[in-house]
Amino acid sequence: MAEKVERPINNIFIKNIMIKAGVGIKRNLENHEQAAIDASREAAAQLEGMRPQIVFAFSSIKYNQEEVLAGLKKSFPDVQIVGGSAAGEITSSETAFDAVNVMAVASDQISFSVGCGLGVSKNSFETGAEAARSVIQNNGGKKPDLFIMIPDGMTGNGADIVDGAKSILGENFPIIGGSSGDDYRFQKTYEYCQDKVLTDAVIGIGLSGKFSYGFGIRHGWEPVGLPLKVTKAEGTLLKEINNEPALKVYEDYFGKEASELTKEPLARMAYTYPIGVEVEGSDELLIRDPVIANEKGEISMAAAIPEGAVVRLMIGDRDKAINAAKWAAETAKSQLDGRQPRFILMFNCMARNKLLGVRCSEENQLAQSVIGQGVPMSGFYTYGEQGPLLGRKNSPAHFHNETMTLLVVGE
């Protein structure tokens, strides 16, 4: 470990402001632990000998998650580790779907406190709250300045998790994050907390100290057809729309039989045609992804839509989605007020990858170039994103789908 950079000027020690991140991404389907070790080595090499405070890791589900974590622990024995399984791994250099992605952050002016809550499927609200509470506890009883969350992407109510965290941190507390994925299998997702591979959990990361940050959140999807009314809903289960089975909307619009829409996760066909909910304070509709439909024509959503809500079917367009990503990056950058960006965390909805197809890396590269080439960037394709509408500061965080969600941390 190298000494911190300190320069004597006129007998006064002036400490350089220091936030440094390194990113590594590697594939090795024969040796999963080695993939994590090699990615870690690549990330660590960019830290110029400085010891990282925290490691963010996102891995394809093609890798045994325990082996990935073992590789991370071997590489960074006394460093805090957070992360989760993904539906795609994103870095400054590439967009991959079979890799282990590692970002190590070293800083002497940010302290990172990690905590977690367990049991999303039983009580999403309480698990979100517990993640926030344990972060505060590990931060010496103080609220951090910024809260990053990585909730489970398959279990529970995405919106309740966010509300739970807000109940502890405060309504307008800056919260951002992304839900874990599983390479579009829609079976089981994992979260990493220190030396444990968890599932059904919410990971919380508190950032405290001297730093700036910017949020950028936008999707670019547009409503189509008439407004529809949710007439029956129970938690995340969307039962009836316009007094008919909810699935009928998709039968009508897709021109398909209900049986075709229930035999495999509805998400596979519908994730680029989600449900939009009008919300105050945003020119974009808040999106809720359908995940799976049952024989009764009820749809399990990624987050609850309350009874009585007016919804629209949403439709995506490649150019508009890419423009939205650009807008998100510009917004995040502008919030730094001219301070140097030091690292980027990208939480990019898996539906965007499906919509953009071969152009999927285009928006990732665009976001990178808007914020700054050379700024270390790490992220993953998510099953849900968290943050304030449009990334606006001092406004409540929500659960999103289909969004490009960006966090830029600067000096």
């Binding site: 189509v224 057809g225 008439l226 619009y253 897709f254 045609y273 079917l313 197809g357 071969v358």
Partner: protein
Amino acid sequence: MNDSGKTQFFDSPEEQIAELNRIAKTLVRRDLELSQVRAKQEEQIAELEQTARILVRRDAELTTAKERLERLNAEKSEFLSIVAHQLRTPLTGIKWSLAAVQRSLGEKVAEKEKELILQSLASTERMIALVNDFLNVVRIEEGRITYVFQPHNIRKFVKETAEMFAKSIEEKNIDFGLSVDDKAPEEIVFDDEKITIVLQNLLENAIKFTPPKEKISLSVRCREGKILFAISDNGIGIPEDERDKIFRKFSMASNAIMYEGGKGIGLGLYLSKNIVEAHGGEINFTSEEGKGSVFYFSIPLKTGA
């Protein structure tokens, strides 16, 4: 406007809404179909790209392998050439020494020693011939063989070549016939040194594989602007299933190997074919196992002018 392009009026807002709804559904359906088609296309493109990448990689591997083989082959030829040259000099030395010993001993030497010296001489000559074959093959493969095309008296040439085998023909008591077409011109253009090699090889084989007291004939005919040499024998013939490989390098018929106990190395016919083809001619044979073979080759008939 409706589908036919005419302006459509609605009787009620409900009707208008229903129409808008219908349009929205059509739009979503089309979009879904298009996105599915596009996804399939992109998948196919990705597969094609993958295939292309594999092909490029294979091509690079093949090129490397080919270059390696070419290098190895060049090294092999060079090695053979060096070995052959290095062998020829001492072999020639042995041959002349043996000949000198034979001459100086004259009649003083006992019959048994005389026989041994003769055998040594014959073996040495055989080795020199083999080394020469090797050298010629190497030269052909390296493209280093040069041909000197000059007019030669065909009757004299054939006669002289056949006379080289007079002794062995006599020893085996073979009925040897030689005939040259009356129509053949006096002088014909060819490389005498190289055609000698071909005739030597074919006559040597004929004598080798023909039992004593049987027949061998060498005939030269002029036909359709070609001169045709044919050597026929009553020898062991060539098995039918081995006829394709007979002109290949290091290739010998299995019955030939049995018959002469593996003395040859299978370069003669390969060399002959190359020489004949370099003259713009063709070489071939007919054969019946146990009854005999006819080897024949033709070269274009060119006279001195």
